[in-house]
Every structure is written in structure tokens, then in C-alpha cells.
Symmetry: C2
Subunit: 230 residues, 2 copies
Amino acid sequence: MATPTDRKPLSRERVLAAAIEVADEGGLEALTMRGLAEHIGVEAMSLYYHVSNKEAMLDGVVDALMIEIGEEIGGFDVPDQIDDWKAEMRRRILGARRVMMRHKWGPTVFESRTTMSPSIILYMDALLGVMVEGGFSYDLAHHAMHTLGSRALGFSQELFEPDSAQQEAANDQSLSEMAEHVPYIMTMLSEIVHDDPDSTLGWCDDETEFNFALDVLLDGLDNRRLAEPS
Amino acid sequence: MATPTDRKPLSRERVLAAAIEVADEGGLEALTMRGLAEHIGVEAMSLYYHVSNKEAMLDGVVDALMIEIGEEIGGFDVPDQIDDWKAEMRRRILGARRVMMRHKWGPTVFESRTTMSPSIILYMDALLGVMVEGGFSYDLAHHAMHTLGSRALGFSQELFEPDSAQQEAANDQSLSEMAEHVPYIMTMLSEIVHDDPDSTLGWCDDETEFNFALDVLLDGLDNRRLAEPS
DNA sequence: ACCTGAACACCGTTCAAGT
DNA sequence: ACCTGAACACCGTTCAAGT
């Protein structure tokens, strides 16, 4: 039903932008080649002219997100001299995190890539630079990158949604029988309810936890830096 | 071709054990309902009698791995009093890690679960217990669990295989043009090659990096504990 | 109670063909 | 150069049917 006019030619960029739209609207499982084509208003096989296969498409999506991160933090360039490396690091990581929050499916896509994307390498190189210019040896900065892991890109991939944990704990009458098996969790929950009766829902605040963990990491790495023989 | 004798009846346990075998041998993408059935020597639809669907099957696999972790570390029970919580924590986490190393696909399965498995809750409760008996407040121990994240289960989910990074760096003649764009990585690599010319392959030792990161985390958390008002 | 066969609704992808 | 239609080899799953 597309009139000739709204039928601007497809392009790799248009395909990738549409892919992000589809994932934003319907989650990652909605992002199929067929569904993506339908969203654009084109036949599924047309996509293969602009993108060699689904894996390549996802690689392109990762690149697009990295560009968005670049815009968010005003470029990756590393200043010549850095006196507060932790602040600079935090600024970049929290910027990346805001992009991930806009695209909740982002972390899963990032973790699904097996080949290392050039755009991620650029980002990582800059983080490495921040540490080196901030007083790290290359060796320690290297360890630090591994320590940060995916948190360098602003996400932590929780092992389970706190929400479903909520439900589990809330709905069951098995709550009492659960107490026998997980006494520490039960005590923890009751303490939290006691301290703040309102926050039964979302008592694990993602933002708080991410920041806490990030600070533990950055402080820990700074201690290692200070202990280095220079 | 199965004779009546080797046709012991299927059971949930047999299905899950076979699933682990299939994944061990062929990776996670080999673990399809149809492939699993074939491995057992049964029709695909027979599986649905013992397991309600693929998701439930994967949940069962997670439970099986958690049991294996329990055996590896001699049970989850928390001793009454703990004077070195870091050592106890490290012991459990490195035990979990050994299981993950035996089943390389394990981390991916764990991260794919959205509903929280009871067997994981038991494990987490015990880790929480180690910290509480080791001198943490419940509040801080809670933050600590989030900080550890998936590392509590012995894996860190690297953003890319160092191996493929190797290849990338090694094969290309673009190595020189790469130097312009990722100067810090290039310098880092050259330093490492200079210090230890042998270790071009596998210069990121997973074991070393995991231990380094774990110690940064445990030390950082211990500092928070010592700073707590008791 | 336990297993099967045929069928359905989905995938990603190839390949020859259209304009 | 760009897009399409039909077809293939896979998925997970339902449902009625066999023993």
C-alpha cells in the first residue's frame, strides 16, 4: 500500500535505525528479519541486500548504539591530563548507562556478540586512556578493564529481575516455609520492610545499586593504583 | 534400533542429564528439543511428557548445575561464626567457577533465565549468610550481592573473546592504521609483548583476571564493612 | 502411564527471477 | 542496482492417536 513517494530507497542506515525501533517497541524477540522487514514495509529478502545476515545486522545495531553513547558523552577523546580519573570514568560509564536505559535490550545484544566490534574497541581504548593519563600503569589499567567488565558499558546484567523475586516472595503462602531454607534473605527482607515500609516494590533500586557497585570498583582500583611502584 | 532392554524409561532426571551432555558436546546451539530427543534416542515429542517446554527444561538444567556446585563446595551451609569472610566467600565462588569451566555454556544459560530459580536463591542466601556472619550489616550485604553480580556464581561474561581480539590484531595489515585510532591499546600490547615475548597467545589469562577482579571486589567490600558504624 | 506422527506457525536463508 | 517469490531446512509446540 506504499505510494511511490514514501518509498525512499532502503539503506543500511535505514535498516539499522528501523531495527532499533522494532527492539524498542517490541523487545529483542520481536527483532526478526521478517518482522523488521514488515516494520519497514518491504519484503524480508530485501534486507539481505543491505546487510549480509542477521548477525551482521546485530553488529550494526551495536555500532549504532556506540555512536549514540559517543553523542551522549560528547565524544571519546581523552584529555591530555587527568587529575580525577574516577570522575572522568564515572562520567563516561554513566553516560553509556543512560543509553542502555533507553534501550533495555541493549545489554543482551552486546553480550550476544562474539566478534569484537571496532566501535567498542574505540570506546575501550578511550577508557584505557583515561586510566593511563590518570596515573595507571598499562598493566594495571588492563586488569582494571577486565575488572569493570560489562559495567564499563553501563550495565551489570542482574541475575534475576528483582520484580519477579518480589512476586515470588509476595504471592506465595510458602513464605513461611521459605523462611526455613533462606533465613538470611528473610531477615534481610524484614529489616528492609521495617526501615522503610513503603518500599516493598522496587526495594532494589537499580540506579542505587549500580552506583554503589561502580564506586566500590573505582575505589578498589584506585587503591591498587596508589599501591603501585611508580 | 533400540532393543527393549536399553530402553529404560525416560525421566525428568534423564532428560536433564542428557541436556547437559548435549550442551557439553555441541554447545548451547546444539541443545534443541529435537536434537536432545535424538541424542536420547526418542521422539522429540516424548520430552514434553517429562518437561513442560524448553524454558522449563533450561530451568531444570540450571538446578542441575546448582546441585553440582553444591557438591563441589561441600554444601551451602553457613558456619556459625566466620573470622575470614573473604576466604570463605572466595572458596565458594571459585568452586562455582570450576563448575562453570566444566560447562562453558553455563553462564549463558544462567543469564537467559528470567524467573529466579529456587536453587540459585538457596546459594545466594548462603553467600549472604557468609557476609552477615562475617560482620556485615544486612543492608551492606545486600549491596554487596548486587556488586558481585554474576561473579557470585563464578563467571564474569567477558564482552568479547580475547582470542578473536588476538586474531583481529594479528592478522590485519591494518595494524598500523589501527594504531592511530586506538593508541592506548597499541601501547599496551607492545608493552606486554616486550615484557613477555612468548605470551602473544592468551595474554589475557581468564583465571588471573577473574581472581584479580574478585580480590578488588572483596577488598573493596571489606573496606565498606570496616567503615560501617557497628 | 508413557510415547508417537502428522501438522502448524514460526524462524533464517538461498537462489533464480523480476524491474 | 535494487527488490521479490518461491522454496528449503530448521525451530518449538499442539493435538489426537497409538500402546
